[in-house]
Symmetry: C2
Subunit: 228 residues, 2 copies
Amino acid sequence: GRKVLIVYAHQEPKSLNGSLKRVAEEELSKQGCSVTVSDLYAMQFEPRATRNDIVDCLHNSDEFNYGVETWEAYKRGGLSNDLIEEQKKVQEADLLIFQFPLYWFSMPAIMKGWMDRVLVQGFAHEFPNCYDSGLLKNKLALFSFTTGGSKEMYEKGSINGDIRYLLWPMQHGIMHFCGVKVLAPHICFAPEYVPEEKRKEMLIAWAQRLKTLWKEEPINCSPEWYFK
Amino acid sequence: GRKVLIVYAHQEPKSLNGSLKRVAEEELSKQGCSVTVSDLYAMQFEPRATRNDIVDCLHNSDEFNYGVETWEAYKRGGLSNDLIEEQKKVQEADLLIFQFPLYWFSMPAIMKGWMDRVLVQGFAHEFPNCYDSGLLKNKLALFSFTTGGSKEMYEKGSINGDIRYLLWPMQHGIMHFCGVKVLAPHICFAPEYVPEEKRKEMLIAWAQRLKTLWKEEPINCSPEWYFK
């Protein structure tokens, strides 16, 4: 059975994000996948990249460099337990699903902190092993999120610009950088401003997509896809 | 005298980011500006958007909606003190400088949390008051950051794509959305991989730019600037 890690960032289980997360757990489990959820708010996941992420002595305590220190700590097994736990989940997963509400054209800080702290050099990438040779190659990622604005507000030429513009740092800059192949995003536009009936349709559509997810081809994660 | 708020996110005062922050404090003070610094790591600034940001009762305690709750709390003066403090600093400032190392094609989570939590509806925007009519109009913002990759790696057609691609969510999606006019970013490429002499030149160049900063015209914060 395939393994899926859902990294989930919403404070409210009753939210549409909460429901989308449960739909994915149910549908993928039904398929025989083993599903793990990192519920970041429930875990009170620490988003700040600090010296506390290194449990033992520093490589250079005279001038703290987070990137160097976490790289060195990873190699000698000196990262904090919460990071080691998350890295294990990533290592085992065939597919990473990121489920969140869009905050300021990006992911909420608690999820950005997961990226900043978990995907350290040595584990997720190690120059020149980045992009197609990133250390997490052979994995898939999918960004599933809700927006405040409508679909029309995120079209090319509209006020917010094409929704794909804001996917670049997340899909290309993080996932592709680590070698992860990216499936098309799953976007629920403006759930707060539609009738309950429409929100139910959103959940059904997500469950439907998940039924054939493993047959999907990854996107071509290059500037053409984002800015054409 | 003009007022400047520097929102600063680096763990190490001896870092180039720390030096760039001090150079800005010194140069702008010399010009007669009043300079305030929010040193996010030193403040142990909370990046997580949670129910704790509302000190009194919730508008709807049955289903927690962070955007709605902070909007309502802002209107009745019920936001937590750390947010009120930051909002006062923003309100008074003519210029916001964001000083940080680029983490994953974006700002570190601690700074994203500052955006998520401080720039609440009612304070920074209130539909339809967004973009050119955003509530923080008549202010300027400048993103000043360091990168791991070289300038060549952030050119159009190169592996990381044009550096401007990743500026879209931060400059347009956050600052422009709130009505803030954006000055050209200040980017120090790959300071970790250049000789000490070159890092000194980077500090001198930043001080030089600040001398005539108030004469600069904002960029044209539209897709043409980013994706041309």
